[in-house]
Symmetry: C2
Subunit: 341 residues, 2 copies
DNA sequence: CCATTAAGGTTTAGCGCTATACTTCGGATG
DNA sequence: CATCCGAAGTATAGCGCTAAACCTTAATGG
């Protein structure tokens, strides 16, 4: 059936442990000739170590869980922005010799099960709400190292990297202000006093303060971050806010929906109204006009997440505070100087 | 540390095997009261079975690998169309009590390693080229059940579901022909006598035959399926094919790129030229004009793939021929009757 | 010349689980 | 009354691997 250490050992006329040492590069205890012979025979026989046996014996699985929210019986809820992340995370883990278990999580209980069952060395939470991250306790995670991406939860167990939402929004809004816009609509989902959207709102507000402009609460539009809801908003935007000349949306798909709504109601982008998004999806290049947006360095975020996690696993280096990934503004065609009223 | 069967057994005053039987629902051999007691204590102690120990002992891991091509040191190559698939596959597997190991594959050798290392029960190949699928032999896959999605490889080891590319292309082309178009450009990557693109080309050709129209080899445009290449093509399209009134592109991003190129060179879509894509990404709804395209039922494809694989694992039901997933044409705004010349 | 050390191994004891065979005991059967 | 049987367990033997302790042999040093 399966080629085991024993098979290789017998064929090579040495003990199982010697083979194990060779396979694991524990060369100090084996002579060069033996190493060579064992390696040759292992290759000949097509020996592949059994990961389950290894993790059982060594109580380290080199397995990392990528936990993603999923309503029961429902598909994974990976936002377009997070999709690119899972590929990057897998690559980074593979580079470091770890494997990725992708797992949808329907409820708190499943977290424990997911973490313990495969004796994961670590896990990354992607796309969970801050409240859900808050809910994790030492008991639920056990000895597994856990880290949440893009979370503003203060749970010390889950500290991970997040994008600099505040600066991103500040940059975007400042860009609009610099172009002469003074009535800028903030479009995003409902938010509380903490979290991604709150940060972006604070950035929006700070940008106004930076240039001594006033901002008006009436320009805050609460809307789901979908294309359809964006279009809806765009359609009636100038009816509700006749003086508005720009929109900062907290997500690209939302921004693109808004652009469509505006276009359909005869408003030209960027001539009449400028629009800025957030995320820098591929989509932005495809949109007409191409969308100005805030770019997050996904590769850096993924790499940082993985490195923080592995560092914590291998060196016990538990991070004490979140790492902020810098963002940048990508100027494209959806923004232009404010029209003269 | 970890709560094991032994812990539960000791606390319940029974043998390890009895607990094991209870946990695995092997109730025939245990009295109702014992079942109740063991279950209560297991819950109290927060017992979670060790998957590695299980798979080592039972030589069945309930682990399925999702193998995706990835250049060495490079991120996973998941096409936008396949992205949705991984979520669906994970859901389906989770429903059936399996777990998903996501793994990038840089070369043939890694396939064996990926399959054997975790003693996978099965694996799904997503996005591999037909040649790569052809290359898998009984030796490389061992006793692991393998299945390739969207492959036209004739390798009997990997038979899986694929979309009905032929019919999709035929539908799309027929739609254009029915609108009166007679000079329809076929835009897609280079292809040989077998594979996805070839099937779509055959569908394109068949549609012409269906209505007694002739098709012309000069209308075949070989182009990478990227937005940028599409735009390039769109820019010069009417220079190269002044009589063309429609384009069938083998992918949505390509189609959307073409639409942009056409728009930039002053050609109106759909008034002057109609465009049809393939895949039905979310993107199509966002494009301006919204893209008419061929829709693949991703949920069905994922569910079919998982069911075929699990069926093969649990009942040894090796499929003898590929399953074809039906496709449909989604008419949106990028197609219109052919203009009068 | 004996103790020490280093190199190059081997042996032992599990990791947590499951499959299989075995035990025990209170009835039902011939 | 001896036998058989089913219900409800238990004991044993691994799955493939690793950590840690143990063993040889030959060279070194005081």
């Amino acid at each position: 059936m399966r080629v085991t250490l024993r098979d290789v050992a017998e064929r090579a006329g040495v003990s199982i442990m010697t083979v194990s040492n060779v396979i694991n590069g524990n060369r100090a205890r084996v002579s060069p000739e033996t190493i060579e012979r064992v390696q040759r025979i292992a290759a000949e026989l097509g020996y592949v170590p059994s990961a389950s046996a290894r993790s059982l014996s060594a109580r380290s699985s080199r397995l990392i869980g990528l936990l993603v929210p999923a309503a029961d019986e429902d598909s994974l809820m990976i936002s377009p922005h997070n999709v690119a992340m899972v590929g990057q995370i897998e690559r980074e883990l593979r580079r470091l010799g770890y494997h990725l278990l992708l797992r949808g999580i329907a409820n708190q209980r499943e977290v424990t099960e997911a973490l313990q069952s495969w004796s994961l060395d670590g896990a990354i939470l992607l796309g969970f709400l801050d409240e859900q991250v808050d809910g994790l306790t030492a008991k639920t995670v056990g000895s597994v190292h856990v880290l949440a991406i893009d979370s503003y939860s203060t749970n010390p167990l889950t500290i991970g990297p997040r994008s600099d939402d505040f600066t991103g929004a500040r940059l975007a809004t400042r860009h609009l202000l610099d172009l002469g816009h003074r009535r800028i609509v903030f479009a995003g989902p409902a938010f509380t006093g903490v979290g991604v959207v709150h940060e972006r709102f604070e950035g929006y507000r700070q940008a106004h303060a930076d240039v001594g402009a006033t901002w008006d609460g009436q320009f805050i539009e609460t809307v789901n971050t979908t294309h359809a809801d964006g279009r809806e908003l765009g359609l009636g935007l100038l009816d509700r806010h006749p003086e508005a000349t720009a929109v900062f949306a907290t997500a690209d798909v939302l921004a693109i929906g808004i652009m469509r709504g505006l276009a359909e109601s005869g408003v030209r982008v960027p001539d009449d109204v400028s629009v800025v998004g957030f995320d820098d999806l591929d989509l932005c290049e495809y949109a007409v006009p191409r969308l100005t947006t805030v770019s997050q360095d996904i590769t850096a975020k993924a790499a940082t997440a993985v490195r923080m996690l592995i560092d914590s696993i291998e060196n016990g280096a538990r991070p004490s505070e979140p790492v902020t990934i810098t963002v940048s503004l990508v100027k494209r065609e959806s923004t232009a100087p404010a029209p003269h009223q």
